[in-house]
C-alpha cells in the first residue's frame, strides 16, 4: 500500500536520520553520515522489494488489504526471518516525540503484566467458517432476496437520471435498469432493444408480491392506525428493494396531494409528506427521476393558500414547515448544474413573494423555505440579495396596513435571525452582511442596515418565532386590486375539537379528528378570470381576509375548477430574470 505513493515519486528513500535513530536504538552510536546514506538507500530498496513481493501474497490470498502476514511470507521468500508479533487487529498509531532538534516517530510498547493477561476472561471464540447457499440468479434474473444487493444501486440510479446518455448504452442498460425494471420483458425483447440502441419503453410491471406490498404500504400510510403507519414508513425508509416501485409511490404522492388539497384534508397531506420524507431517507433510492412529480406536490403543500378548512385553528403551518424542510432537503440533495432545481425553486418562491398580491399563506411558505435554505446560501450572494431585498421591496409597497407590516416584520426577523446571530448590534449586522458578498456589501449596505434595524425592532419582541400565530388578521390594502367579489365563508362544518398547536412538532402529527371531510365550494367556474378572490372568515377575527391568486407569473397557481394546485416548476426558466435591483435609500420606509 505504501508503495503506491512511491510510484509517483520514483525514488523516495528513507531519511538518513532514521538510520541514525535505528542504529542508536541498537546500541551503535556515531554512525557516519556516508554510511547512513548508503544504508538508507539499501534499506529503502529492500523494503520496496519486500512490499512488491507481499503484494503477490495479497493477490493470491484474494484480498484487497495487505496484511502483516503477507509481509512475513515475503520475508520468508527472501530467506529472512519473519517479524513475529505484529499480528494486531487494531490500528497502532505512531507516537511522535521531538527533542534535541530531532523528531522521532515510534510505536508505544507498553509493559504487559502477564498475570493480567492470564486472569482476563477468554475472548469469545470466533465463529467457525460456514457455508450458505442462495440464488444469485434464476434463469438470468436476479431475485430480490435479502442475500442479494438491491437491483440498482443508488449510484446507478443517479447515473441514470443525471447522465441519461450514458445510461442508454445497451450494456449498462443490461446491468441495471433492464434487469431491474423490465423483468417482464422477455429476453428476446431485450435483444431487440439492444439492436435498436434505443431507450426501451419498459413496462413497469410489478410482481404480485410487489403489488401486495404497494397496497399494504399505501393503505397503512394513509390509514388511521398510527402504529401501522410508523411501520410502513420505516419500511419505505429502509427497504432496499423499492427501486421498481418508486414511480408508483411518486404518482401516489402527487395524486394524493392533488386530491387532498382540493378536499383540504390536512391530515392526509401530512401523511403523504411523511411518506415522501421516508422515500428521501431511503439510502438505496435516488429520487431525481421523480422530482417532477414530487416537487410540485411539496410546493403545493408549502404555498397552497388553503390546506385545511379551518386555517385559523388547524395547524397547517406545521405542514408548511415540514414540507418546506423537505423541499430544502431535496434542493440540497438533487440540485445540480443541469437541473438547477435550487435556483428554480428559489426564483419561484421569490417571485411569488415579491408579488404583492400573493396570499399570505403562500408567503408564509415562501419565507419558511427561504429560512431553510438561506443558511447554506451564504456564498450565493445574488440569491441572498434577492431574499434580503424581498422584504425591502415589499415593504415599500406595503406600508399600508399595520397588521401586514407586523407579519412582515416577523418573517424578516426569522429570516435574519437565521442568518445572523444575536445580539442585534447594527455594526455587527454590517460586518455579517459584508461576508455575504462584495456586491451585497457595496450595493445595499445602507438598505441592509435599514432592514436590519427594522428587523431588530421586531426581533426584540418576537425574536425566534418563525411561525406566526394563526390568529393574526390581515387585511388587504385597498390599493391592491381585488376585483373579484367576496364570498361568504365557505366552511360548512367546523369541528369543535380543534386545538391550536402552539409548538411545532418535528413531524407534524395529524390533528385529532382525521376523517372529517371538507367540501370546498369556493371556486368559480370561470377559471379564465384574471383574479379569483376567495374570502375566508376567520373565527377569531371579524375582519375578512381577502386573498388573491395571482395569474401566471412565478408561481403557477393554476386555478383548476376545484382548487389551486401547483402544477410544475418546469416553465420557470422563461420567467423574467429577477434582476438585482439597487434600492435607493430614500425609497426605504422608516419602520
Amino acid at each position: 500500500m505504501a508503495e503506491e505513493r512511491r510510484q509517483k515519486q520514483c525514488s523516495v528513500v528513507l531519511p538518513s536520520e532514521s538510520m541514525k535513530a535505528m542504529a542508536e536504538s541498537m546500541g551503535v552510536g556515531q554512525l557516519q553520515e556516508d554510511s547512513c546514506v548508503a544504508l538508507s538507500e539499501e534499506v529503502s530498496y529492500r523494503i520496496k522489494e519486500i512490499a512488491q513481493d507481499a503484494l503477490k501474497f495479497m493477490h493470491h490470498g484474494k484480498r484487497r488489504k495487505l496484511t502483516t502476514s503477507d509481509i512475513d511470507y515475503a520475508l520468508k521468500l527472501k530467506n529472512v526471518e519473519p517479524l513475529y508479533g505484529f499480528q494486531s487487529q487494531d490500528f497502532i498509531p505512531f507516537r511522535f516525540a521531538s527533542g534535541g532538534g530531532r523528531e522521532l516517530h515510534f510505536y508505544e510498547e507498553k509493559e504487559v503484566d502477564l498475570s493480567d493477561i492470564i486472569s482476563t476472561p477468554l475472548p469469545r471464540v470466533p465463529l467457525d467458517v460456514s457455508l450458505k447457499a442462495h440464488w444469485l440468479s434464476i434463469d438470468g434474473v436476479q431475485p430480490s432476496i435479502p442475500e442479494n444487493p438491491p437491483p440498482a444501486t443508488k449510484e446507478q440510479q443517479k447515473a441514470e437520471s443525471t447522465e441519461p446518455l450514458k445510461a442508454v448504452k445497451p450494456g449498462q442498460e443490461e446491468d441495471g435498469s433492464i434487469q431491474g425494471k423490465g423483468q417482464s420483458g422477455t429476453s428476446a425483447e431485450v435483444k431487440g432493444k439492444e439492436k435498436l440502441r434505443m431507450k426501451p419503453r419498459s413496462t413497469h410491471e410489478l410482481s404480485v408480491e410487489q403489488q401486495l406490498y404497494y397496497k399494504e404500504i399505501t393503505e397503512a400510510c394513509v390509514g388511521s392506525c398510527e402504529a401501522k403507519r410508523a411501520e410502513a414508513l420505516q419500511s419505505i425508509a429502509t427497504d432496499p428493494g423499492l427501486y421498481q416501485m418508486l414511480p408508483r409511490f411518486s404518482t401516489f404522492i402527487s395524486e394524493g396531494v392533488r386530491v387532498n388539497v382540493v378536499q383540504n384534508n390536512l391530515a392526509l397531506l401530512i401523511y403523504l409528506m411523511r411518506m415522501m420524507k421516508a422515500l428521501m431517507d431511503n439510502p438505496t433510492l435516488y429520487l431525481e427521476k421523480y422530482l417532477h412529480e414530487l416537487l410540485p406536490a411539496v410546493v403545493t403543500c408549502i404555498v397552497s393558500k388553503q390546506l385545511c378548512l379551518r386555517p385559523d385553528v388547524d395547524n397547517h403551518w406545521a405542514l408548511r414547515d415540514f414540507a418546506a424542510r423537505l423541499m430544502a432537503q431535496s434542493c440540497k440533495t438533487f440540485s445540480t448544474t443541469t437541473n438547477n432545481i435550487q435556483s428554480r425553486i428559489t426564483k419561484t418562491f421569490t417571485k411569488s413573494w415579491l408579488d404583492d398580491k400573493t396570499q399570505w399563506t403562500t408567503r408564509y411558505g415562501c419565507i419558511v423555505i427561504k429560512t431553510l435554505i438561506i443558511p447554506r446560501l451564504t456564498v450565493e450572494g445574488v440569491r441572498i440579495k434577492a431574499v434580503m431585498e424581498g422584504p425591502v421591496v415589499s415593504n415599500i409597497d406595503k406600508i399600508g396596513p399595520v397588521g401586514s407590516l407586523l407579519m412582515w416584520g416577523k418573517h424578516c426577523a426569522s429570516v435574519i435571525a437565521k442568518i445572523r446571530p444575536a445580539p442585534d448590534v447594527v455594526d455587527q449586522y454590517r460586518t455579517d452582511y459584508g461576508y455575504l458578498g462584495p456586491m451585497l456589501c457595496s450595493h445595499v449596505v445602507k438598505a441592509r442596515t435599514q432592514a436590519a434595524l427594522q428587523a431588530q425592532t421586531v426581533n426584540r419582541t418576537t425574536l425566534t418565532i418563525t411561525q406566526p400565530r394563526p390568529s393574526l388578521s390581515v387585511s388587504q390594502s385597498g390599493g391592491v386590486g381585488s376585483s373579484g367579489g367576496s364570498r361568504t365563508p365557505s366552511i360548512i362544518k367546523v369541528p369543535s375539537s380543534f386545538t391550536l398547536m402552539s409548538t411545532r412538532p418535528a413531524t407534524p402529527t395529524q390533528p385529532s379528528p382525521p376523517a372529517t371531510k371538507y367540501i370546498v365550494m369556493a371556486t368559480s367556474a370561470g377559471a379564465a378570470s384574471t383574479q379569483q378572490v376567495i374570502t375566508l372568515s376567520s373565527s377569531q377575527s371579524s375582519s375578512p381576509v381577502t386573498s388573491t391568486v395571482t395569474r401566471g407569473g412565478a408561481v403557477r397557481l393554476v386555478t383548476t375548477p376545484c382548487t389551486d394546485t401547483y402544477v410544475g416548476v418546469a416553465p420557470l426558466h422563461h420567467l423574467p430574470h429577477w434582476s438585482t435591483k439597487v434600492v435607493p435609500r430614500q425609497h426605504l420606509p422608516s419602520p
Binding site: 502476514s69 447457499a133 444469485l136 450494456g171
Partner: protein, 728 residues
C-alpha cells in the same frame, strides 16, 4: 531447457542451491544413452558444470546413467538417491509412467541436448550477465540519444510511428540499467524521471520495480532485471519500419542505441503492412515483449480424445433415444455434432495413446453412465436462456478463503484457507464419512453386496471435514475426477494429496521450494500439474514423488495452471503477463500468448478444447484460439481482478467471477463466431479485435460484498459460484 539456465542463475543468487531442480532439469534429457561424439562432449560439459556447483550426487547419477567410466564410481548402484535414479527405478516397475519417461528421452533428445551444453558453457553468472552493460558511452549523452530517437519516431509517418514506438520501453529500460550498472546514479535518476512518463501505462508495474533500483549492488539477485537480461525483448516490426529505423540510426551514427537493439532486443521482422496502434497494444504488455512467431508454429492437437465405449444400460425409457454412438464426451458433449462425428477420430485430436492414461475402473464407468444420464437433462444455454446461479457464500472466513474447487458432479466443495487448513463440505444431503479403522474393517464380510457401504463409519458422518497438514496458506485445491483424492498446494512449498475416503494426507510432494500458487488434476486423473513462485510448472503423477516434467520458461511466478481437456497439454498463466501452453509429452512450450497487461489469475479451456479464456488483474478476459495461437477476443467489463472463469458444459456461455463482487455471463458462441480468421491473419497474427464486449455481455450479477473466486457449471448447466463474504 531453460530450467538449467534458470537454475544456474538461481544458484548464483543468495538462495541456497536447489538440488532437485538441477537433477530434474539436467539429467532427464541426458539420461538417454548417447553415442555421438557431440553428445559426449555435451555430457562432459554438464558434468563439469555440476561439479563446479558441488552437486556430487547428480554427477554420480549422471555418470551412471550415461555409462561413463572415466572416473571410479564412488557411490554404489544401490544408492539411487538422485532424482534421475529414482525416476529410472520407477520406470521399471510402473508401466505407463515408465513409457512416458522413455518416450520423452527418445523424442526430445536432439532438441534438449544442446541446452545443457549452453547452460554449462556460458553459465549465466550474474556478473557475466551484467558485464554486457560495461561497455558504455558518455552517460550524459544518454538523454540526448533517447530524446533524439524520440524526436525521430515522432516525426515519421503515422503508420510507422506506432510500430517504432514499441522500441521506447525496452530501450528505456536497458539504457537506465546501463546507467545504473556503471554507477551513474544521478544520471540514471534524471533519465528515469524524464522519460518515465512516456512509457505505456501497462508497464507501470515493471517501472515501479525499476525505479527502486538505483545501485549496482541492487542488480544482483533482482529477478526482474535478470529476466530482462537473459531473455531478449521481442518486438514485431514490419520490414519498412525497420529499414527506416536502421537508416536513421546509421545516419546519426547512434551506436549506443544500435548496440542495445543488436544485443538485447529481438526484432521479429515481417513483410506487409505495418500494424496499427490498437493491434500492437492488444498484443503487447508482457514482460518480455510479444511472442516470436515461430514460438506458436508448432501444431497443437487440440481435439478431444475419443471416449471409450461403454455399454449404457438401456433400462431407462428416456435413455432409448440416447443411443450408443451418441455418447457425450467426457468434458464437453457437443450435442449437435456428436451423432456421427464422435465415432470418427477428430483430425485435430492427439493419438489416443499419445500420453498414457489410466485404465478406466468399474467405478469410473459407473460415473460416466451417471454423467451421461445427467447430460441428457442438461439445459441448453444461450443468450435467451441464461443459467441460474447458485452462490455459495463462506461466512466467518475472516478474509481467509484462498481457493475453492467443486467436484465434477458438484457433490463436494473444497476450500483452502489462509490458516493452512483445507475444508471439504458435502453440498448434497449425503454426509461425509470416513472409512472404518483397519481393525474394524477386518470384521466386515467382504462377500456381501453392500460392502462399500459397510466399510464407512457412520459415527464420523458430518457435513464438513477439516484437513490439517499444511504450514502455510493453501492457494490451490483440486479434486480428482473420481472424487477419491484432493490436491492442495500451499505457501509452504508442498503439494499434498489427501484421501477423501479416510480424510488423511497421503503424500506431500516436495519440489517447489517456494509457494505453490496453483495445482490441478488432469481431467483423466493420475497426472497433476503445479506452478508457483519458482517460475517452473511441474507435471506430476500421483504415484511418483518426483515430477515427471518441468515446464520452465516463464519469467515470473506461475499464477495459475490448467489441463487441456484432452490431458495432452497444460496451460500456465504467469505474473510475467504471458500464457504458455506446454506439451505434456515432451515438455516443450508450444504456445506463448501475450496481450494481458497484468498477472493472469485464471484460465479456462472451452469444452471442445479449441479455445482458451484467461482473466487477469486488469479486469479483462482474453479469448484465444489455440490452434492458431491467436487472440480472438477481449471482454471488458470487470473492474477488478478476475479470479474465476468457466465455460458452460456445452461451451455456449462463458462465466467470469471477479474481485468486484460480480459474476458476468458472456456469449461465448458469438465471441468466437465474430472473429474471422482467414489465412492471412492466421499467418501474421495481426487480428483486428472487434470491440463488442457490451454486446457479448449477457448478464451481470452483483453479490453483496462477496468477491467471486470460483465458478463451476454442474452437469446440468447450473452455475455454482463461491466466495467469502467480506464484512468490511
Amino acid at each position: 531447457m531453460a530450467a538449467v539456465q534458470d537454475g544456474g542463475s538461481e544458484l548464483e543468487g543468495e538462495k541456497e542451491p536447489k538440488p532437485e531442480l538441477m537433477n530434474d532439469g539436467s539429467t532427464a534429457p541426458a539420461a538417454a544413452p548417447s553415442s555421438r561424439p557431440e553428445d559426449q562432449q555435451t555430457l562432459l560439459a554438464v558434468l563439469q558444470f555440476l561439479k563446479r556447483n558441488k552437486l556430487i550426487e547428480s554427477v554420480d547419477a549422471l555418470r551412471r546413467e550415461a555409462g561413463l567410466a572415466d572416473e571410479p564410481e564412488e557411490a554404489p548402484g544401490s544408492e539411487a538417491a538422485g532424482g534421475a535414479g529414482g525416476a529410472a527405478a520407477g520406470s521399471g516397475e510402473l508401466g505407463d509412467a515408465g513409457a512416458l519417461l522413455s518416450r520423452v528421452s527418445g523424442g526430445s533428445q536432439s532438441a534438449a541436448a544442446p541446452a545443457p551444453a549452453k547452460g554449462g558453457d556460458d553459465q549465466p553468472d550474474v556478473s557475466v550477465v551484467l558485464s554486457a552493460y560495461s561497455q558504455q558511452g558518455d552517460p550524459s549523452l544518454y538523454q540526448v540519444y533517447y530524446s533524439g530517437l524520440k524526436k525521430f519516431i515522432e516525426s515519421v509517418l503515422d503508420c510507422h510511428r506506432a510500430e517504432l514506438s514499441q522500441l521506447f520501453y525496452p530501450l528505456f529500460v536497458h539504457m537506465y540499467l546501463e546507467l545504473v550498472y556503471n554507477n551513474h546514479e544521478s544520471e540514471a535518476k534524471s533519465f528515469f524521471e524524464k522519460f518515465n512518463g512516456d512509457q505505456e501505462c501497462y508497464y507501470q508495474d515493471d517501472l515501479r520495480v525499476l525505479s527502486g533500483l538505483t545501485k549496482k549492488e541492487h542488480m544482483k539477485g533482482n529477478e526482474t532485471l535478470l529476466d530482462f537480461r537473459t531473455s531478449r525483448f521481442v518486438l514485431r516490426i514490419s520490414r519498412d519500419s525497420y529499414q527506416l529505423l536502421k537508416r536513421h540510426l546509421q545516419e546519426r551514427q547512434n551506436n549506443q542505441i544500435w548496440n542495445i537493439i543488436q544485443e538485447h532486443l529481438y526484432i521479429d521482422i515481417f513483410d506487409g503492412m505495418p500494424r496499427s496502434k490498437s493491434q500492437i497494444d492488444s498484443m503487447s504488455g508482457s514482460l518480455a515483449g510479444e511472442a516470436k512467431r515461430e514460438d506458436n508454429k508448432t501444431k497443437v492437437y487440440y481435439g478431444l480424445l475419443k471416449e471409450p465405449e461403454i455399454e449404457v444400460p438401456l433400462d431407462d425409457e428416456d435413455e432409448e433415444a440416447e443411443n450408443e454412438e451418441g455418447k457425450p464426451k467426457k468434458k464437453k458433449p457437443k450435442k449437435d455434432s456428436m451423432g456421427s462425428k464422435s465415432k470418427k477420430q477428430d483430425p485435430n485430436a492427439p493419438q489416443q495413446n499419445r500420453i498414457p492414461l489410466p485404465e478406466l475402473k468399474d467405478s469410473d464407468k459407473l460415473d460416466k453412465i451417471m454423467y451421461m444420464k445427467e447430460a441428457t437433462k442438461r439445459i441448453r444455454l444461450g443468450p435467451e436462456s441464461l443459467p441460474s446461479i447458485c452462490f455459495y457464500t463462506f461466512l466467518n472466513a475472516y478474509q481467509g478463503l484462498t481457493a475453492v474447487d467443486f467436484t465434477d458432479d458438484s457433490s463436494l466443495l473444497a476450500g483452502g484457507f489462509a490458516d493452512s487448513t483445507v475444508r471439504v463440505w458435502s453440498v448434497t444431503p449425503k454426509k461425509l464419512r470416513k472409512v472404518k479403522s483397519a481393525a474394524d474393517l477386518g470384521m466386515i464380510d467382504k462377500e456381501s453386496d453392500d460392502v462399500l457401504e459397510r466399510i464407512m463409519d457412520e459415527k464420523t458422518a458430518s457435513e464438513c471435514k477439516i484437513l490439517y497438514g499444511h504450514s502455510g496458506p493453501v492457494y490451490g485445491v483440486s479434486f480428482s475426477p473420481d472424487r477419491n483424492y484432493l490436491l492442495s498446494s500451499s505457501e509452504d512449498g508442498t503439494i499434498r494429496l489427501w484421501s477423501l475416503q479416510t480424510f488423511t494426507c497421503l503424500v506431500a510432494y516436495k519440489g517447489h521450494n517456494y509457494p505453490v500458487w496453483d495445482t490441478q488434476f488432469s481431467p483423466y486423473g493420475y497426472y497433476f500439474v503445479s506452478g508457483g513462485h519458482d517460475r517452473v510448472a511441474r507435471l506430476w503423477a500421483t504415484d511418483h514423488y518426483q515430477p515427471l516434467r518441468m515446464f520452465a520458461g516463464h519469467l515470473a511466478d506461475i499464477t495459475c495452471t490448467r489441463f487441456h481437456p484432452n490431458s495432452n497439454y497444460v496451460a500456465t498463466g504467469s505474473a510475467d503477463r504471458t500464457i504458455r501452453l506446454w506439451d505434456v509429452l515432451n515438455g516443450h512450450c508450444v504456445r506463448v500468448l501475450t496481450g494481458h497487461k497484468g498477472p493472469i489469475h485464471t484460465l479456462a479451456f472451452s469444452p471442445n478444447g479449441k479455445y482458451l479464456a484467461s482473466g487477469s488483474t486488469d479486469g479483462r478476459v482474453l479469448l484465444w484460439d489455440i490452434g492458431h495461437g491467436l487472440m480472438i477476443g477481449e471482454l471488458k467489463g470487470h473492474t477488478d481482478t478476475i479470479y474465476a472463469l468457466r465455460f458452460s458444459r456445452d461451451g455456449e456461455i462463458l462465466a467470469s467471477g471477479s474481485m468486484d463482487n460480480t459474476v458476468r455471463l458472456w456469449d461465448a458462441i458469438r465471441a468466437f463466431d465474430d472473429v474471422e480468421t482467414d489465412d492471412f491473419t492466421a499467418a501474421t497474427g495481426h487480428v483486428h479485435l472487434p470491440d463488442n464486449s457490451q454486446e457479448l455481455l449477457l448478464g451481470t450479477y452483483l453479490s453483496k460484498s462477496t468477491p467471486v473466486i470460483h465458478l463451476h457449471f454442474t452437469r446440468r448447466n447450473l452455475l455454482l459460484s463461491a466466495g467469502a463474504y467480506n464484512s468490511q
